[in-house]
Each structure stands twice: as C-alpha cells, then as structure tokens.
C-alpha cells in the first residue's frame, strides 16, 4: 500500500493565449495513496482545477501539458498519462474507468434533454458493456448507494427537475459507475446549501470508506477538507506550497499561506465580532507572477531581500510533511507588512456616533410576497409561489440583524421588500427616518420613496453583476451623488476619493473600469457606492458568499469596521452561519418564507429552539481534522410553496414532527422577551447548538500561529 496510486511529478500545464503564456500549473508534485483522500486547497485562480483536468487530459485549448509526469499505477505497472494521446483508446478507458471527475456545477454536467437514468445507463453500457436491463438495475443500485431517496423516480427525471443536492448525488453515482480507483471531486459542494453540503461530504467520506477508492477533493474552503481528507496539499499560483497529513496541516501549518488560510475561516467558537485574520490582497494574475516566492507580496512575514528575490527551497518538516518557504525552521518571522491604519486617524471627519439602540429603526409586520409563475397563457389562473409569508420582526438602530436560511427560503425577498426594490403584497414596513418620522414603506409610491434613498442602501451578492461594465469606478461610486444632484463635480470627486479610502482602495483606481478588478475589490467598490449617500441602514445580501474564504475575511472586517465607525445598522442576509455568527447581534432564521426563530446571536447559536436552526447548526463544516459533521438525517423534501401544506412547513423534514405538526400551523410566538419561535414543540425539545466542546480545533491554530 506504500506505492501511491497516482503521482504527479513536476507537472506543468500552460495556456498559450494571445496576451502571453499563463502558467496555470507550474510544477506540481504530489502523491495520492490508494484508498486515501487528498484535499487540494487554495484560493480561486491557483490552478487546482487545471491540475485536475490535466490528470484526465481534458485541458481545454489553448492549454497544454508542457512538462512533468502523471504516473498512474495500473496492474503493477506505471503508466505516464502525460505521454498518452489525449483522445486515444487508453486514455478513454482510464477516464471513467480508473479515474472519475465530479464537477462543481451538477446542472451543466447533465444533458437537459435526457433523463438522469438514461445518461447513467448509457455510461454503464459504454464503460461496463452491460445489457440494457442489467444497466438499469446497476444504475438504481448506484443511486441507492449515494443515498438518493426513491431512485426509480430519479431515473425518470430530468436534471432540471432535481434539487441541487440530488443532482450532485446523481453526478457522483455516474462518476462511480465505472468503479474508479480514484474520484476527483472539483469543488463538489461549493454551489450547494450548507445542509446539503454536509450531506454530500458525509456521502463522499462514506463512499471512500466503503469502496476503498482514493479521493482527490479540490476546494477553496479548508473547513470542507478537514473532515474528509487524510492528506492536504496547499496550492498557490500553480505551485504546491505545503503538503502533509491533515493533522499536521491543521495542527502545525508551516507555510504562511496555509496559516493565513486557516486563520481567515470565521471561527464558530471564538469570540464573535472581532477582526478576522484576512490575507492581504488577492491572487495575482499568472501574468504578474511575483519574483522569488510567489506569495511574498501577500505574506505577513516576508523577509525583504530574500523572499522577493530568491526562490524558496523545499523544506521537509516531518515525514511526508513539506513546505516551500524560506522561513520554515528559521525561527522568528518578521513583522506583518499589511496593517490597515485605523480609520480614525485617516478620515477623522467621517466618524458618526451609533444611534441609540433603544430606538427601533424598522418594524416589519405581516410581510407577504408571492411570485407569479410563468404558466401557460391558456391556464385560467396563474400559479403563485409564496416566497414570503407572514414575516414579523423589529430592527433596532445600530445593530446587525442576520437573516439566515437555505436558498429559496425567502430571505432575499424580505431584504428586497424592505428596500422596496420589490413591492410586497401585504404587511407593513414601518421605517423611522432620520427626522424621526415613521413611514410605512410598503404603502409608498416610487416618487415618495426617492427622498428615502439616502437613508438605506444595499450591498449585492454578485460582485460581477453589481457593477456596470461601461462605467469607471468614479462613475459607479458617484452615481448616487449625481442622481441626488446636490453636489458639484468638485465635491463629487472629493467624496469619491474619501469613499475609496474608506473601503481601502487606492485613489488611482478611480479611472479604471470594473474589468480591472478581482471579486473582493469589486465588492469594495459596491460598498463604497452604497455608502455614498451616507445611509443609516445597509442591507447586505450575501455580500461574501461569492468570494473566497480569504477574501471573505477582508470584506467582513471592512463591514464590521465601517459599522462601528459610521454608526450603521445592518440587515445581513446569509446562508452561512459561521459568517453570520461573526457579524451579527441578532439572528433571524427563515424557512420556506417563514421566520422560524429569532433571538440574540448567542442564544440562537448555543440553544436553538427550532429544529431547523439545529439542523443548520449541525451542518456547519468544522475546520478540524477528521471531524464528522453531525449532519442532520436527511429525510423528506421542502414543501411545495405553490400549494403550501396545512401544517408546519418544516414538518416534512423535521425529525421531531408529531401529528399535530401536520394538521396545524404553529404560530409566531415570543417565548421569552426578544426570543421568538414558530414551533409547536419548542418547549419539549432539547436541541443542541454549538457548544463549548468545539472550542478546540481551529482555536489551537490561532494560538500557535500568533505565538510564533
């Protein structure tokens, strides 16, 4: 078993584009032992996916493997996949037969015009040469193996009829059909909800144990790797910077990049609302590969004159644990280069006292919103989906209220109703303006809303869609000022420069167009635009979920800093409870258009009273080696919101459901002051939240690296 199943030796894959050569993979050496799981970690743009594609020889034009070996052990001999013709017979039988790949986006991996079953059967007939009947049986078995409920039904379904989680399971079933010895999973859970992610990770771990196949798990999220992998490989700019066992990487990370990645994960056990350790900047474009150690411009401990000129050596730390860094074993590292100056010293004029927390800023009562479905024009009545149903909460000035839930839970709809980007069907949204007037936003017309626009603004999820590609950064940030019309050009320029400074972007960026920026930088521009009119309320709709973990920490720090400094009130929409815990004061949990639980952050996280909250909490991946996510038993499906059930909406998935839950809808009730729950059984259940027992793991990493 000592012989690795697959070894990469100095693999280099380059892309030969019009603008020059991109060294996407630049000399990767790693081993995948048989039956073991190797996690490959790094930010986006570090060449992880290209490496996976190189192994299967499916690199897209104009990419090419230019050097190195890909050695696969097969029948006691070693085959160099890099030397095989990419479309030859040998390579085809290895693809799917010996090595399979699962992609990030299961939707695009299936053809929309064939049923999932047909596609599975086709693969089985092609690779295993089974008869039609045998292939059908085997396909059902495979689906059962990946825990698909009612596999026969899924066989007859098209990809778009399946939920994201089931689709990914079916994708994994297809990858398993050739009984591969190595499964490469490329960000298999990134597009999925937390609860689904936990289930898929459990599935992958179980499959590895039961089938004995090796696994390569590619992800940007170290927490995902922790529970599954035996070994971890950390990649940066197409190079391996550190590799070792999962215990060593998480317990004694050597490379500053590994340490920084680990520290940027918002801890679910440390103190909330503190600055996260972000990695400065972002991954440079491979054209701008820095000299010396490619990580040195972002490295907090880089040594001037060494790290920026000399290529770092490979240092063996322990058995199988290697790091490529000048500093490993060199004693005391230098001092951090990247420290953000305090905003107070840079922009003293902008400080604003937080508003008195006793004042209610916003009161939402009985909010409801339905979306009409695109029905056939001949249908008598158009079907409607109830996106939001009877939502009630208060927002106090100066606090952060988090809206949490899976995708489709209605949290975005609620946030957009509050800003009146969409018109609610029913209910009141009472907003207390700066002047002290109380206005019901739900009843105002567009023209009446305009004067209120400088009191509340929004930060968007997708940093690509939220900036007009035709406008310069100046035009984008000055847009609100221009529409407002109160300031002249000179004042606008001054204000934009101030805002750029506020969000930590250099003033030179003012003339540039959005295409010049990375996701994190674009998000900063979006924040600057939201702040331009000096709003009191900011609605942030999943502001970090499109970003890498490392960049996410930067943006979260910025949001917290701005809140304290400008006295802002936040509504923070997110699906990620570890992020939410980090930024919020109170948490409101949504399920299927309803609020199911509302309370103070610590109360909700530590002693949830609604089973759905407990489910969400259990699904958070824990950044500890070999941690098993106490994933919820997945039963049932989400309720059909076109024709909602009579009883509790969560009944179909609730492990504690009783007959009453099916027959009667629970009411929204205040159980202790400030604590609201929508559940019949809140008093009887003893649900577990995140407890003190989790304070090990990641915490030790923090201590170790800060004591270095």
């Amino acid at each position: 078993m000592n012989q690795p199943l697959l070894s990469l030796r100095g693999l280099k894959t380059h892309f030969f584009g019009d603008e020059g050569t991109v060294s996407a993979v630049n000399g990767v050496t790693l081993d995948i032992p048989a039956g073991q799981a190797v996690g490959v970690v790094g930010e986006s743009g570090c060449g992880k996916s290209v490496m996976a594609r190189s192994i299967l020889r499916i690199v897209e034009q104009p990419g090419r493997i230019v050097a190195g070996e890909i050695l696969l052990r097969k029948d006691d001999a070693e085959i160099d996949l890099a030397k095989l013709p990419a479309n030859g017979e040998a390579m085809r039988s290895i693809r799917g037969g010996d090595i399979s790949l699962v992609f990030q986006e299961p939707m695009t991996s299936f053809s929309p015009v064939h049923t999932a079953g047909n596609q599975l059967i086709e693969v089985l007939r092609l690779h295993r040469g089974l008869s039609k009947e045998k292939a059908y049986e085997r396909a059902v078995d495979l689906l059962r193996m990946v825990d698909v409920p009612s596999p026969e039904k899924v066989m007859d379904s098209y990809a778009w009829q399946l939920s994201g989680g089931i689709r990914q399971r079916a994708m994994i079933a297809m990858a398993l059909s050739g009984e591969p010895r190595l499964l490469i999973a490329d960000e298999p859970t990134t597009a999925l909800d937390v609860t689904t992610q936990a289930q898929i990770l459990d599935l992958i771990r179980d499959l590895k144990r039961d089938t004995g196949m090796a696994l390569m798990l590619i992800t940007h999220d170290l927490a995902v790797v922790a529970g599954v992998a035996d070994y971890v490989v950390v990649m940066y700019l197409g190079e391996v910077v550190e590799r070792g066992t999962v215990e060593e990487i998480f317990g004694a990370p050597q490379h500053p990049y590994t340490q920084a990645l680990l520290r940027s994960i918002p801890s679910i056990s440390g103190p909330p609302r503190i600055r996260l350790h972000a990695i400065a900047g972002s991954v440079p474009h491979p054209f701008d590969r820095p000299s010396g150690c490619s990580f040195h411009p972002r490295c907090p401990v880089a040594i001037q004159g060494t790290c920026d000129t000399v290529d770092p050596p490979l240092r063996v730390v322990g058995e199988g644990h290697e790091a490529v860094c000048h500093l490993v074993g060199e004693g005391q590292p230098g001092s951090p280069i990247f420290t953000m100056q305090d905003l107070e010293t840079r922009l003293p004029a902008l400080a604003r006292e937080p508003e008195s927390a006793r004042d209610t800023m916003l009161e939402v009562r009985g909010l409801g919103k339905s979306h009409a479905l695109h029905a056939s024009p001949l249908a008598r009545k158009r079907a409607k989906v109830r996106a939001v149903d009877d939502v009630n909460f208060e927002l106090r000035a100066g606090e952060t209220l988090a809206l949490v839930g899976e995708s489709g839970s209605g949290k975005t709809t609620v946030s957009r109703c509050i800003l009146r980007a969409i018109q609610p069907d029913s209910g009141e949204i009472v907003f207390r303006t700066q002047a002290g007037d109380r206005l019901d936003l739900a009843g105002l017309r567009t023209a009446q809303l305009r004067p209120l626009r400088n009191e509340m603004q929004m930060i968007f999820q997708d940093p690509y869609s939220s900036l007009n590609p035709r406008m310069t950064v100046f035009d984008i940030i000055a847009e609100p000022l221009r529409v407002d019309g109160a300031q002249g050009k000179q004042e606008q320029v001054a204000r934009v420069l101030e805002l750029l400074e506020l969000v930590g972007l250099p003033r030179e960026y003012m003339r540039r167009y959005p295409h010049a920026f990375s996701g994190g930088q674009r998000q900063r521009i979006g924040i600057a635009r939201a702040l331009a009119l000096r709003p009191r309320l900011i609605v942030a709709d999943e502001p970090v979920s499109a970003l890498d973990v490392s960049v996410q920490a930067q943006i979260l720090n910025l949001l917290l800093e701005l809140q304290g400094y400008l006295g802002l009130t936040y509504i923070f929409v997110s699906h990620d409870l570890s992020v939410v815990r980090h930024v919020s004061d109170r948490i409101a949990v949504m399920y299927a258009g309803n609020l199911v639980e509302l309370g103070h952050r610590d109360e909700v996280m530590e002693s949830p009273r609604h089973p759905y909250t407990a489910t969400l909490l259990a699904a958070i991946p824990k950044p500890e080696p070999r941690a098993t996510t106490s994933a919820p038993p997945h039963r049932g499906t989400r309720p059909n919101l076109i024709d909602p059930p009579v009883g509790c909406y969560f009944e179909s998935r609730c492990p504690y459901a009783v007959d009453r839950c099916k027959a009667e809808r629970p009411t929204w009730q205040e159980i202790t002051p400030g604590r609201w729950v929508r559940c019949h059984r809140y008093g009887e259940l003893a649900l577990s939240g995140i407890g003190a027992d989790l304070n090990s793991g990641i915490h030790s990493v923090h201590d170790r690296s800060s004591g270095k």
Binding site: P284, R298, S465
Partner: protein, 389 residues
C-alpha cells in the same frame, strides 16, 4: 449572465493587492485597466484579420459609391447601336516603352455568316486618355455641379472610346454603369435599415423594460408581422404605389415598408438583452439610489448593447443588398432607367447574353464581394462586441 467570467488567458484579470504601489506595474497593463468598452472592442476587432479585411473592403465600396460619377467616364444613360455588346477593351499604358495612356478606336462589323456584331481595334489610330478630363455633367456629392472625371478620351467622344468592361446591348458602358449601380445598391437600403433599427430598438426596449401587457402586445404584433410572406408583400406594394412616382421613389417606399417588417428580428434580440441587463444587480443599484427610468434606460441599459446593434446593422445591410438585387432581377424592385446591380443583371437574364456577351455578368462580382465583406465585418464586430466573453 456570467457575462464577466475570467478564464485564464482572456483580458488580463489583474488581481493586484490594494496596497501595492501602482507605479510598480507596467504601462501596458494599466492601459487595459482604464480602457473603455469601445477601446476593448477595437483591440479585439483588430485581431480578427478577416473582419479587418471586410472593414477595408466595405470602406472602399462606400468611397467608390460616393465618388461614382467622378470615377465613371461615360454617361451611363448614353445609348448607341454603333457600339452595342462590345467586349471589354484594355487601355494601353506603354507606347513603345514610354509611359502613355491611350486606346485604339474600335470598328464595328457585322459578321455576314452569323450576323453577329464583331469589333476590331484600329491599331493605326491612338486616342490619348487624359486624367481629370471633362465629360458628362453631374453634381459631385449631389451638390457641386461639375463635369470633371478621373479619366476621359482626348480628341474623340469618351462614350465612343473607352470600354473597360465592354458595353451592354444598348451600347452603354458597363464600367460606368457599374459604378453608378454601386451607389444605388449600397445607399438605397440604408434608410430602410435605419428605420428598422430605430423601430427594433425602441419597441424591443419598451417590450423588455416594461414587460407585462405591453410586452405581450408587442410580442404578438411581432408574430403577426413575421407571418406575412415578404415577396407577395413586395409585389403588392410595388403594384399599389402611384405610377407617376420615379423608380427610385417607388423602390425607396418599398424598402421603407419592408423595414416595417424587418425590425421584428432586432426587436426580439433587443428585448432579450434588455430583459437580461434589467436583472443585473447594477440596474437595481441604480434604482435604489433613486434613478428615474429614463436614466436607467439610457445610462445603464442602452450602452450595454450598442455594440450588438452595430453588429446587427452590419449584418442587416447585406440582406438589404441581396434583397434589392434579387427583387430587381425578378423585375419587382428597381426598373430601368434606374441603375443598380439587380437592374444590370436583369439585362443578363437570357441565355443569349450569357453566351455571347458574358461580360454583362460582371455585376455579380461586386455583389458577392460586398456581401462577403459585410458579413465578415459583421461577424467580427459581433465577436468583438463582447470583450469579456
């Protein structure tokens, strides 16, 4: 839309740490960061060799069309039985080693066996050709009255002396007629295309932006218009316009009426684009800062698809040219005495002409070249219009 993806190898995605000194970066990179959309499109378009060639050819065609009368030497309407169906006759550039432009007069004879008219050059006589000679009267650019032409015969009527591409059955010079036809064929479709685009953008934009009932009404209207077959409509319109109108005016009115149908395709594209851009977060961001619909449409939505409109125009023009040519060929579009590529080809309809005077098929060449050039140009523009894809 994922419009802005950044696969390795496309437009530089410069993730530079915000703390890095911008002066450290190279000039070239900085140029891309501050490049406007238009510059990005142009840089990408320049790489498209075929499209660049198309651009050059199209530009040349329009230059020729503008200067058609100046480049022509014979009055395109001047007929004479004496020089009917003459084959192309070259101009000599060297006279015994000395550079000199001249031509020999052609003597027409009737072959008494076949009754075919044949022409023999009289080598003993030289007719010198002058540059910037006086010829028939015209208005340059339709404004300046003049009679100066690029070339003309000296000492004999130009109409009787130079036949670069031969003559037709009525003895009219094909080269001169071709130039004038180029002008007609290239410009007559422009008005129709312009109207079609205006209608398409406005109605498609309204349909996509407001949605609801407006959208349904406009979309049904488009479907009804698209169900009308074009050729019978052209025939009907051609028959319906007053006989007293000049041929150009008749054709102009037909193209206008056809453009009333031609906008539907573009309207659908524009509607799709508007629907897509409307869902972008930056449009909502603009709404949330209180922008009015007019600002949203003209500052945020329209600029994002102007490049597509330009590409659509470039691809609509060759369609108009083909339509003119084929309809005139069928006798439904322009008719003599108007001169266009289609009208010229109509004269070459019978087998006798093709067999005995194949040079009368010459207008096929500019039709093919112009349409290919327009299509290459349009394809290149369309590819370049989305520099992020």
């Amino acid at each position: 839309m994922g419009s802005v993806q950044d696969p390795a190898g496309t437009t530089a995605r410069p993730d530079v740490p915000p703390t890095a000194d911008p002066a450290e970066r190279e000039e070239g990179k900085d140029r891309i960061y501050v490049a406007t959309q238009r510059q990005l499109i142009w840089w990408r378009f320049r790489k498209h060799k075929l499209a660049m060639a198309g651009l050059v050819v199209v530009a040349a065609f329009y230059l020729v069309a503008i200067a058609a009368d100046f480049l022509a030497y014979s009055d395109p309407h001047d007929t004479s039985a004496q020089r009917a169906s003459m084959p192309p006759q070259p101009i000599s550039v060297l006279d015994g080693g000395r550079p000199s432009l001249f031509t020999h007069p052609l003597i027409g004879q009737r072959d008494l066996v076949t009754f075919q008219r044949t022409y023999v050059a009289d080598e003993s006589v030289k007719i010198p050709i002058r540059l910037f000679a006086h010829g028939y009267k015209y208005k340059f650019l339709g404004i300046v009255p003049t009679d100066i032409h690029l070339i003309g015969a000296k000492g004999a009527p130009t109409e009787n002396s130079i036949f670069l591409l031969g003559t037709d059955e009525l003895g009219r010079d094909i080269f001169s007629r071709l130039l004038v036809a180029t002008r007609t064929s290239l410009f007559i479709g422009l008005a129709g295309v312009a109207i079609g685009i205006a209608l398409g953008v406005i109605l498609g934009g309204i349909s996509g932006f407001y949605g609801g009932i407006t959208d349904v009404v406009i979309q049904r209207m488009i479907e009804i218009l698209r169900s009308i077959p074009t050729i019978p409509l052209w025939m009907g319109v051609a028959a319906a316009v007053p006989h007293t109108w000049s041929v150009e005016r008749v054709y102009f009115s037909i193209t206008l009426i056809v453009s009333v149908i031609g906008w539907t395709e573009l309207a659908r594209v524009v509607r799709g684009k508007v629907l897509q851009i409307r869902d972008e977060d930056f449009v909502m961001a603009a709404e949330l800062v209180g922008s009015k619909p007019r600002r949203i449409i003209f500052v945020h939505i329209v600029p994002l698809f102007t490049s597509h409109i330009i590409a659509a125009t470039t691809l609509a023009l060759p369609l108009m040219i083909v339509a003119e040519t084929s309809l005139s060929f069928l006798g439904l579009g322009l008719r003599a005495p108007a001169i266009s590529w289609g009208v010229m080809l109509q004269q070459a309809q019978n087998i006798q002409t093709v067999a005995l005077a194949p040079w009368m098929l010459v207008p096929v060449i500019p039709v093919v070249v112009a349409i290919l050039a327009f299509n290459f140009l349009g394809d290149g523009l369309r590819d370049a219009a989305d520099p992020y894809s």
